[in-house]
């Protein structure tokens, strides 16, 4: 079975030359050299919120899980009930350790009755593959890591027209639906999904048509004022929606429940990794929880690891933060402890390099946008 190479050095997207031609700033992300920004995070953010943006996300993992034992294997590994996904539907799930801590969040696409396509984070692809391999299957399962695939995302209100231009019929896809299409006679998985809070599509295909597809998408979005967008803009977009990011807001020392992701956990589907621990924690109460923080003043921008206080009592730590261009103020995600130390609407203080900034505890999303 093909293996993911250990990242001795940075991996390269096949589109690097396209990014350089557009003047992108490239930087390391999860073992890959990826475009961080082109024109700038703010203008790229605006393109996605108001028009359309194109992202290269080739660093994300792409794993096929197929065969009569595939469903049974996935059900033991991921938290959500994969049976709930009909053919042509996708499902957000977590992979937990036995303690209920989050090893990974991923999306599972059901391409056929017994054929699934799993997209883990770049840094975790090997780990997820290993967990799947070690899971006893009750029937045949073929696991396949696609080293030779690329992953593009088209996000924003005009994305429907752009993708429809190249892939007729995809405008009818509902949120979290997927279809197998083709481009230049090569297979392309087209899904109505994303990580920006806007209507959007994600496209998976072979790297040998990456350039053609990238250029065709750029051309198709030109009439709509589209822009190539980097990972910096993507981080701002996902934070405005309060979407947690693996490695930043999700890690093994916090459980799915503490991360506020119980909606992606199906307790009644049967046994899965971490289930017993989550049930116990649900009984005993949560030691911490992930909340949104909206700063009162524009000049206060929370950043990862800033401590959170109520008066002199340390009650939490910021895990992600940025400046929200839509709200024109600082926003962030933070774990607070114990979970009930502050409620939505309460005021807490973030220690910003020695100065206190007041923040309101909110339930994300921070902005009124919807990907549906």
């Amino acid at each position: 079975m093909p293996r993911v190479d250990e990242p001795a050095e940075l991996k390269h997207t096949p589109l690097e030359i396209e990014h350089k031609a557009l003047g992108a700033k490239l930087g390391p992300f999860a073992g890959w050299l990826m475009p961080i920004e082109y024109a700038g995070a703010l203008s790229e953010h605006e393109a996605v919120r108001e028009r359309v943006g194109l992202f290269d996300l080739t660093h994300l993992g792409k794993v096929d899980v197929a065969g009569p034992g595939a469903m049974g294997m996935l059900q033991q590994v991921v938290t959500n009930d994969v049976e709930k996904a009909a053919v042509g539907e996708a499902l957000y799930s977590l992979v937990l350790n036995e303690g209920g801590g989050v090893i990974e969040d991923l999306i599972t696409y059901r391409l056929d009755e017994e054929r699934f396509f799993v997209v883990p984070n770049a840094a975790n692809a090997q780990r997820v593959l290993q967990i799947l391999e070690e899971t006893p299957a009750d029937d045949r399962v073929h696991l396949m890591y696609h080293q030779d695939w690329c992953f593009l995302a088209v996000q924003g209100p005009e994305s429907v027209h752009v993708v429809q231009d190249l892939f007729p019929g995809t405008a009818d896809l509902a949120f979290m639906q997927c279809v197998e299409s083709e481009y230049k006679r090569r297979p392309v998985i087209v899904t109505r999904s994303g990580y920006t809070g806007e209507v959007g599509f994600e496209l998976f295909t072979f790297q040998d048509i990456a350039h053609d597809l990238w250029r065709a998408l750029r051309q198709a979005m030109e009439p709509y004022g589209g822009a190539a967008c980097g990972l910096a803009a993507r981080d701002v977009l996902r934070l405005e929606m309060g979407y947690p990011l693996y490695g930043q807001d999700l890690f093994e020392s916090s459980t799915a429940l503490e991360a506020g992701l119980s909606w992606a956990v199906s307790f009644d589907k049967g046994e899965f990794r971490g289930r017993a621990s989550l049930l116990r924690q649900r009984e005993e109460g949560l030691p911490s929880q992930l909340v949104g923080l909206r700063m009162h003043e524009r000049r206060h921008i929370p950043r990862a690891h800033y401590p959170v206080f109520i008066d002199d009592q340390l009650i939490g730590e910021v895990t992600s933060g940025t400046f929200s261009p839509l709200l024109q103020t600082g926003i962030g995600l933070a774990y607070i402890w114990p979970a009930d130390v502050a409620a939505v609407g309460d005021t807490v203080e973030v220690d910003i390099r020695g100065r206190r900034g007041a923040a309101e505890v909110v339930r994300p999303p921070f902005v009124a946008r919807s990907p549906r």
Partner: protein, 129 residues
């Protein structure tokens, strides 16, 4: 990337322009490009005393926050009144309307010890950041 000849530079990526007995200070084109879109600038009050090579303010972008170091010792006599409302000026005109403060230096010859344009350009090209 611009490195105006008439300016002096620091290895922390500030520029200094001598204007009579005063010195105008900002961050360089290289610095603003590395930072990304600036969303907030924190500057000292007029009258504040600042030390050479010590942080006197902060420039915050969507990505991160960076200290701004003073090229010389002195007293703040002006701060850019536009920058609070329009922090993007730091990106758009780092050597123009995106200036940060004007300093009355303790030592009128203090800028002599800073890098000239050519030395600063080489410094940035050597991969220093």
């Amino acid at each position: 990337m611009e490195f105006p000849e008439e300016l002096r530079y620091t290895k922390e990526h500030e520029w200094a322009r001598t204007e009579g007995e005063r010195v105008r200070v900002g961050i360089t084109d290289f610095a603003q490009d590395a930072l990304g879109d600036v969303v907030y600038v924190d500057l000292p009050e007029i009258g504040a005393k600042i030390q050479a090579h010590q942080p006197f303010g902060e420039v915050e972008s969507t990505k991160s926050v960076s200290d701004v170091y003073s090229p010389l010792a002195g007293t703040i006599v002006e701060r850019n009144p536009l920058i609070e409302e329009r922090p993007e000026l730091v990106n758009e005109q780092p050597y123009g309307d995106g200036w940060l403060v004007v300093i009355a230096p303790d030592d009128p010859r203090a800028t002599d010890g800073l890098l000239d344009a050519e030395a600063y350009r080489s410094f940035t090209e050597d991969g220093a950041a």
